[in-house]
Subunit: 446 residues, 2 copies
């Protein structure tokens, strides 16, 4: 993309309404614009990252054998009366009357709707196991929305639901989700630690939250520092293998890691003192096993192999996709702006032309642009007629992990400059070598 043909309205001033760094940087980098309290328009750069995160979620969900679908944003109140949650949910549920006076709501989650779909179409154990998921806009009418997309009212979330014949099978689904979530977050450049959590209004005894450590996190967390040494890496997992998935759960959850909701001082004190940590964390996902809570209330049953009709065992599993943008920025920025991890960066590399209008510099930039594009990489070319300082500031703010700087002086020696946003280190090398270096960096994740 050429910047002169893009819409990237960066702000010079720091917006006064933003209290945390991710909100400030998303506004300054022209990623979002508030449309109403807690409701945002995703400007082109913000949308591009949002879509990348959504794509990663889809890929990892389908790798785990989960099936994508899409439920609507608005729901009828009737289903929520069946489960008893219409009255329980409180003021965070946005209640709506349509022109005929029928009670509707903007879905904050979808246990009822998916259970209704299941009970309408599935009647036999032979159709199990089954996990359906979608990535859709939700609404929670927060009394005091704040922190930008981190605590918005309209938010984009992946929520998935598993249906299984037995508790044991459902717990495998639980483990499988834990594994796929670990992979998902790592691809996004995040370390998200599974922590024992509280069921809340969804219910259930088995539940883990995934937390990204960050000073601005809303939760206080307590953990054994050994958990931060774990990484999923590129290990191959057979998602149908119960033992393999259970082993990953064991590995990643046996060390102490809890939020303040479930914190147990006595247990914590059994961790060697030098490994005891307390910090703040941002919740970016949660998984639940809640058994037959909804299937019994709503009559979602199957006939088992023995001919008996039994309610199915269920769980639900969520990733806060729009909130993840904020979490990634909280975890990865400096005083000059955002630093995108390679897996989610909106553009792979920025091209800065130090002397726009200079025939040789322009031609070199165009050639770089063409070869990067031909190799499947997306450059953002700052082709504005502006000072180098302004171009560097914009690139640093926007946070692309790599920058190629092209100027007449370097070109005389046949080189351009390749700079890492994270380390700040630069290297001079011929343009075609810079391109090859980027191809290697992004191999397998472009």
């Amino acid at each position: 993309m050429r910047l002169t043909r893009y819409f990237l309205p960066v702000l010079k001033e720091t917006p006064s309404e933003a209290q945390i760094v991710s909100h400030r940087l998303m506004l300054r980098a022209g990623m979002i614009k508030q449309a109403a309290a807690g409701i945002y328009s995703w400007l082109p750069l913000g949308f591009k990252v949002l879509r990348k995160l959504e794509d990663i979620v889809h890929e990892e969900q389908q790798r785990a054998g989960h099936i994508p679908m899409l439920m609507p944003t608005l729901q009828s109140a009737d289903l929520w009366r069946e489960s008893g949650r219409y009255d329980d949910y409180g003021e965070e549920m946005l209640r709506i009357k349509d022109r005929h006076g029928r009670d509707m709501l903007y879905g904050p989650t979808n246990e009822e709707l998916i259970t209704d779909i299941f009970r309408s179409h599935v009647g036999s154990y032979k159709d199990l196991p089954l996990t359906l998921y979608h990535v859709q806009w939700k609404f929670r009418d927060e009394i005091r929305p704040r922190f930008g997309v981190m605590r918005g009212r309209e938010f984009f979330m992946k929520d998935g639901y598993n249906f299984d014949l037995t508790k044991e099978a459902a717990l495998h689904a639980y483990n499988r989700h834990l594994v796929s979530y670990l992979r998902t977050y790592e691809r996004m450049g995040l370390q998200a630690i599974p922590m024992r959590a509280d069921g809340g209004p969804i219910g259930g005894d088995y539940t883990h939250e995934f937390l990204v450590l960050a000073e601005t996190g809303e939760s206080e967390v307590f953990y054994d520092s050994a958990v931060t040494d774990l990484s999923f890496g590129d290990r191959q997992i057979d998602y149908d293998d119960h033992a393999q998935c259970a082993a990953v759960l064991e590995e990643f959850t046996s060390k102490y890691a809890r939020t303040d909701e479930t914190h147990d001082e006595a247990l914590f004190n059994e961790v060697p003192e030098e490994r005891r940590r307390s910090a703040r964390g941002i919740e970016v996902g949660q998984i639940f096993y809640f058994g037959t809570k909804y299937s019994e209330a709503m009559g979602a049953t199957v006939q088992g192999p023995d001919g008996q009709v039994v309610p199915v065992h269920m769980g639900s599993h969520g990733i806060g996709v729009s909130r993840l943008l904020g979490a990634i920025i909280e975890a990865s920025h400096d005083e000059r702006g955002i630093i995108w991890p390679e897996g989610v960066t909106p553009f792979h590399v920025g091209i800065v032309n130090l002397k726009q209008g200079d025939a040789e510099a322009d031609a070199a930039c165009e050639a770089l642009y063409a070869s990067l594009t031909a190799l499947g990489l997306e450059p953002l070319y700052d082709d504005r007629d502006e000072r180098a300082g302004g171009k560097f500031a914009t690139m640093d703010l926007v946070g692309l992990p790599w920058r190629i700087t092209v100027g007449p002086r370097g070109l005389k020696n046949g080189v351009v400059e390749l700079t890492s946003r994270r380390s700040g280190e630069s290297e001079e090398l011929p343009p075609e070598e810079a391109v090859q270096r980027l191809v290697q960096i992004y191999a397998g994740r472009a």
Copy 2:
């Protein structure tokens, strides 16, 4: 995808509530399920097609130089009061009060919100031309929703907005959209005829609707049969070239083609009698140029090259993405089910195993599955333990354009059967040749 691991709840009976064929077939093929009046859940097969249509729209919009972003579903009423449409819009607008009693609405369209974004960030002619678009869920509270996704209340729509300094530049944006829409519909296997239309509540003198001819269409249309001979084909277009885009508009709109709203009997009678046609059509898109209607009302101005501050010229452009599924099926089906055009089919080919459990047949199907997948094609493998008749009926209903039938008798002769859903013609050939044939068929559109 293996059918035993998918969620494809086909119905044997014809649902009584469905009045038109696309609605019946979408329900029977397990693509949608009604969640509330005019609101649908998109089951996995329906979601897969919806996503393909969305992807085609994104690709063609970006090819034309338009920039993707995403506006929220809910909006504040204040902006609509500025334009005067809050009171004008009538009962089709879903009005909502949040917990603080603030007036909100579920966006039926986004002229106000995009104009607000523009005026907040753009002040100079140097940032023009600019076209922003998004694909997002909308809501119109139809008094009597019907025909499934064709006239739903919650629907998925691409809407784009151009901002230009002059009327002439805005009319180029209009022409450019017409060209990109022609390409978009043809990729979906549809002939959508641009017809002179009426501005309606969006306003404007320049407007064309795109109509797909179908008996169940809601509009009566009148046209010169010569328009149905036109096709965009794979011509190369430079979207920055005003003359090229204008020539396409001229070619596709100079022949008589109008809806009943703008029909002119006298003009129509100038068409040679043997080429005069009246029929019914489904509206699948509309483009507008409405000048400074919103920019004047909302103060969206730029400083021109002469230093003068002027309101920008705008247009808006919509494609009904969810409705397109219905339109495609109305235009392409037979008594046995859907017939997907290759460009939008949810799976590229079905594999029917005539003797599930037979070691040789199973192995041949698995080998086909593996080689198709390795070549980037997506097969749907019916691996259920069911009669051949039931498997064929499901494949015909679901409408994949190609089917490979694998059975012990053919395998003895080293062949499988490749069948076209559209023509019904079958050919026996070695499995690897069937795979190569499919690769050729889908070249460039898989």
